[in-house]
């Protein structure tokens, strides 16, 4: 009996410890949702007068809506630029010999390794000279650098599953390289391309550090406005905006998770 009890107790202890850590990962961020439903100025876990007051204030504010609009605009731009360039790079990498491919791959994913603050300072300096600070174009370019490596990795791993013989067959049967890509290659990597496009959107939509530097006063995105609000004004609107940001990410990323589970 004791021999049976002990493993059971150990298993229970493990489940409690492991479960607590998983809860520590998920629960804190979720507390922002009940907070956002409060009409009061002080924090309430369960709001005394629940309602959508803060959401109404957010969506009625011209200033916040401008920032939201700009964020979406930049993220859509990043989606196009990063996905296009990343897919091109992934297709090109496949045509290289192993040695040069490894080297180039390392160079292409470097933006993920360099600390954001270093890239932020660097790109701020260069953009200031080029007149790109405080412009949507500047934000799209900088965010695309950060989103690009994800596209290369996602599309690259999808390309591993594409049999080159199919493409060679298509080429030898007289289809041009573009037609071969459109008819043979792309259908097989479609999910990865669309998935990385969504991911690129999310990377841009949530970016703060680089944006803090290069958005100037004219092109503040939603996260930068939130950053300012955290420092300079105490407002109960922030939990509502935080919820909007989180829900946006969840909406964008859910298809990705579904695809992952099917794969």
């Amino acid at each position: 009996m004791r021999r049976r009890l002990r493993p059971l107790a150990a298993r229970a202890a493990l489940a409690v410890t492991g479960g607590s850590v998983l809860a520590f990962l998920v629960v804190p961020v979720l507390t922002v949702i009940p907070m956002s439903l409060s009409a009061s100025m002080v924090f309430e876990l369960i709001p005394t007068t629940p309602g959508f007051t803060q959401y109404q204030r957010f969506f009625a504010s011209r200033e916040w809506m401008l920032a939201l609009g700009r964020s979406v605009q930049v993220a859509l731009g990043v989606m196009v630029v990063a996905t296009l360039l990343g897919t091109l790079a992934a297709l090109g990498l496949r045509r290289l010999a192993t040695r040069s491919r490894r080297l180039l791959e390392a160079a292409l994913i470097a933006p993920r390794i360099v600390p954001s603050i270093v890239f932020a300072v660097a790109v701020y300096y260069v953009f200031a000279a080029a007149g790109l600070v405080g412009t949507v174009a500047g934000l799209v370019l900088a965010h695309s650098v950060l989103a690009f490596p994800f596209v290369v990795v996602f599309v690259g791993s999808a390309l591993h599953g594409v049999d080159p013989a199919l493409e060679e067959a298509s080429l030898s049967l007289g289809a041009g390289p573009v037609a071969t890509f459109a008819r043979v290659t792309f259908p097989q990597i479609r999910l990865a391309v669309f998935g990385s496009a969504l991911f690129a959107f999310n990377v841009s939509f949530d970016e703060v550090v680089v944006t803090l530097f290069i958005s100037g006063v004219r092109a503040k995105t939603l996260p930068v406005k939130v950053w300012d609000a955290i420092f300079y004004e105490i407002t109960p609107i922030l939990p509502a905006i935080s919820t909007v940001i989180i829900v946006a990410s969840l909406v964008v990323l859910t298809p990705l998770l579904l695809v992952r589970r099917r794969a």
């Binding site: 002990r6 298993r11 410890t17 492991g18 850590v21 998983l22 520590f24 998920v26 804190p28 961020v29 507390t31 922002v32 924090f43 876990l45 360039l85 990343g86 091109l88 790079a89 090109g92 045509r95 292409l108 470097a110 933006p111 390794i113 360099v114 600390p115 954001s116 603050i117 270093v118 890239f119 300072v121 660097a122 790109v123 701020y124 300096y125 260069v126 370019l141 695309s144 650098v145 690009f148 999310n202 949530d206 703060v208 550090v209 803090l212 530097f213 996260p223 939130v226 955290i230 922030l238 939990p239 935080s242 940001i245 989180i246 990410s249 969840l250 990323l253 998770l257 992952r260 589970r261």
Partner: protein, 279 residues
């Protein structure tokens, strides 16, 4: 030009040109600007090392990163062990707890910690209500607050490598150890832990590397004594406009990060077993 070469140029040309202009060139400018102002000088590096205030920022950065790594290992290992012990289907669902927050806004997650950890926040409220403490604790604007939030944000970097190391251990080894009469605790110490150690090392190094460049958490949840290198860089650029000094700091952070990352790739990445079913 041969057709194959043409294809490579067409495919790789635009992305490389883009990265060169928007990524590599600005970084080269940082390296250049830290030593030429306008003539060659090491003045800014010298100032960085000679001034005790700045030296302390580096020490704090290393200390916070190290403590975050230890915290992530202490919490991440049992979580990974638990995930490895459940059925694959359950694991897929539970893994969402690790994956989903990882992709949510870092700013929002830091902000939530600010709300939860403040003196009138939820954590203090619960501690008071349960009678654990008599007066609210200072949980933020200090090292504790920074550590709680950083461990929370970096745990996935630890959990994934440890989990894949644990899943790669053949179950027969544990069965053999048990059937030879080893107590489960002994099996853990002599079989499971040593075999999952590379996962802990890989996760630890990753957590440490990412910690070094943390900016948002120390800015929001730390006090003046928790200023990390990233925060000093921002301060130098945005408050005092001392570009060459910021470049020297940024360059030092960059070199440290790249060096550790090279060590990671050389020693650990290749040896990490990749278990099926992980992202």
């Amino acid at each position: 030009m041969r057709r194959a070469t043409l294809a490579r140029v067409v495919l790789l040309g635009p992305p490389l040109a883009f990265l060169l202009l928007v990524f590599a060139l600005p970084l080269v400018r940082v390296v250049w600007g830290s030593v030429f102002a306008p003539g060659f000088t090491l003045e800014f590096y010298e100032r960085m090392w000679r001034t005790p205030v700045y030296g302390r920022v580096f020490w704090i950065t290393l200390k916070i990163s190290l403590l975050t790594t230890i915290g992530a290992a202490l919490l991440g290992y049992p979580a990974a062990y638990f995930l490895a012990s459940v059925k694959p289907r359950t694991r897929q669902v539970l893994l969402l707890c690790v994956i989903v927050p990882f992709f949510l806004s870092v700013l929002v997650r830091n902000y939530v910690w600010m709300v939860l950890l403040q003196r009138t926040g939820l954590v203090n409220r619960l501690l008071l209500d349960w009678g654990v403490v008599g007066a609210p604790l200072d949980l933020m604007y200090n090292e504790l607050g920074v550590l709680i939030a950083m461990v929370n944000m970096l745990l996935p970097y630890m959990i994934f490598p440890v989990l894949s190391a644990l899943l790669a251990i053949p179950p027969e080894l544990r069965h053999a150890s048990a059937s030879l009469g080893a107590h489960p605790a002994k099996t853990f110490w002599r079989v499971t832990l040593p075999l999952s150690a590379p996962g802990v090392a890989a996760g630890g190094l990753l957590v440490f590397i990412v910690s070094l460049g943390f900016f948002i958490t120390p800015a929001l949840l730390g006090g003046p004594k928790q200023m990390m290198v990233s925060n000093l860089i921002e301060f130098s650029v945005r408050q005092v406009l001392n570009w060459p000094f910021a470049f020297a700091l940024a360059n030092t952070l960059l070199l440290g990060t790249l060096l550790l990352y090279a060590i990671y790739v050389r020693t650990l990445e290749g040896r990490m077993p990749r278990a099926a079913g992980l992202p």
